[in-house]
Amino acid sequence: MPEYIAHRFLNVVEKIGISTVKFIEAVGYYFALLIESVAWIIAGSFYKQPVRIPSIFSQMMTIGIAACPIVFILSFSIGVMLAIQMIYNLKTFGAESQVVVGVALSVTREFAPLITGILIAGRTGSALAAKLGTMQVNQEIDALRVMGINPIRYLVSPALLAMLIMVPALTFFSDIAGLLGGALYTGIEIGLSFSAYIDRTMAALMVGDVMQGLFKSLVFALIITLVGASSGFSVTGGAEGVGKATTRSVVLSISFIVIADMIFTYFLNR
């Protein structure tokens, strides 16, 4: 039945078209959200609606300080894991002592920003989506608007600023934790002393390596905030909608983080 097949084919094409339009719409919304949040941060005072410093600090506490223990545990484990794998691999060439360089570069350039980004996406991005989604469902967003409080200025701008400060800070913390994990395992496995490990790490690392990781973490912070906030604002349909938005925000931010990581790594290493 050729007619039937043609119909099916058209259906598929139509679906691809619809999802493309939806994707472009979503990306457009992210940028609009970004521009508006930044505009409020810069020009809020002129409109007598400044972004309040205390709310930025309270966001920084929940995003950053409260995440320190879990970032430490994960990064430390990644450091140990990298050391194990690298010693095993380098053994074939009899070059176990090169493990220090390997761990230092992979942690600072790749693993610290990535693991921090993914963790914060799961922790803060989802919380932001759930909070804004619940507020949307309970008409709290409408209430803010009719009180003359711009919801983006009041809810998104402080979170964005706090994320842009705290995610790089956490990434640097994660660098240190990862290197510490590497140092511990290397010390036990091939008997390299801690101070020698630190010396060699310092010799191997350039400022650019750390900066590359921190730059990527800034991008991740943007992605997490914008995806989380837009998922939250777009909630419709009660509690179920909030659940969907939360899941969506985590899946989308982690996907975007990994893809953005690939793209930025490519360009930063040209």
Binding site: Y47, M135, Q139, E140, D142, M147, G148, I149
Partner: protein, 266 residues
């Protein structure tokens, strides 16, 4: 009465709105005088909640104008709208208190955002407004610790904390028992008498509507059927209004062809 005539607080002209391709409100004309309590009544799906959303400036109409306190909110700048919003208070159906803050902080929120008053003054003002709604001493509690009626009253306290000239209520008696709902009606009357506010109430509760209304506007399927005093509404011979007042189900004649095409989806 003569004096009242020139002071029009709300003036809606030829308002048309769409939700997607569907027309929700069609040619709404409405005026509310200063110090008046206007009830907007209608069954579910009549467009009364939509009308309220547009009166609050939460949507952009397809055409028509909405003047609040003499200013057309359909083409106000951000700053002008911001100033106007300080003169508007809204009590949402579910209260819409911010769940992350205490009752006191919720009531103080507009003051904190719009004024430079010091902490003590804001505390006192918030307590005063909570006393007005009989919630003195509850400012330390979280919204989740309050009953539905208390949340609604706290929402009223938050709405009146800036002493607005316009006050909007969305379904004030929905989900409340008759006693609490009657108390809320008393509160609405008191706000108008004491603070001389212009009040718009969206409701489908007949008893409370007849008790507090100066005038009633009846909406039906996006059109205004009638906008008049309680007596006139009661005496109206319009079939739809009478069925709304007498709670009779609407017996519409079904067009057989249309019905069939709806069922088969052709």
């Amino acid at each position: 009465m003569e004096e009242n005539k020139k002071n029009i607080a709300i003036e809606v002209k030829d308002l048309v709105t769409h939700y997607g391709p569907r027309k929700i409100l069609d040619g709404i004309n409405l005026t509310v005088k200063e110090g008046e309590i206007m009830i907007i009544m209608g069954g579910s799906g009549s467009g009364k909640s939509t009308l309220l959303r547009y009166l609050l400036g939460l949507g952009i109409p397809t055409s028509g104008s909405i003047k609040l306190l003499g200013e057309d909110i359909t083409n106000l700048s951000t700053n002008e709208m911001f100033e106007l919003r300080k003169n508007m208070g809204v009590a949402f159906q579910g209260g819409a208190l911010l769940s992350s803050m205490t009752i006191g902080e919720n009531v103080q929120l507009p003051l904190r955002e719009h004024t430079n008053l010091d902490e003590k003054t804001m505390d006192i003002m918030a307590r005063m407004k909570l006393e007005v709604v009989n919630l003195g001493g509850f400012e330390k509690l979280m919204p989740s610790e309050l009953s539905g009626g208390m949340i609604k009253r706290a929402a009223v306290a938050r709405a009146i904390v800036m002493d607005p000239k316009l006050m909007f209520f969305d379904e004030p008696s929905a989900g409340l028992d008759p006693v609490v709902s009657a108390e809320l009606d008393e509160l609405i009357l008191r706000l108008r008498d004491v603070m001389n506010m212009t009040i718009v109430v969206v409701t489908h509760e007949l008893d409370s509507a007849f008790k507090i209304a100066d005038r009633i506007t009846v909406l039906d399927r996006g059109h205004i059927l009638m906008s008049d005093t309680v007596e006139e509404i009661k005496n109206s011979d319009n079939e739809r209004i009478q069925s709304l007042l007498n709670r009779t189900p609407s017996n519409e004649v079904i067009n057989a062809d249309e019905y069939l095409s709806r069922l088969t989806g052709m």
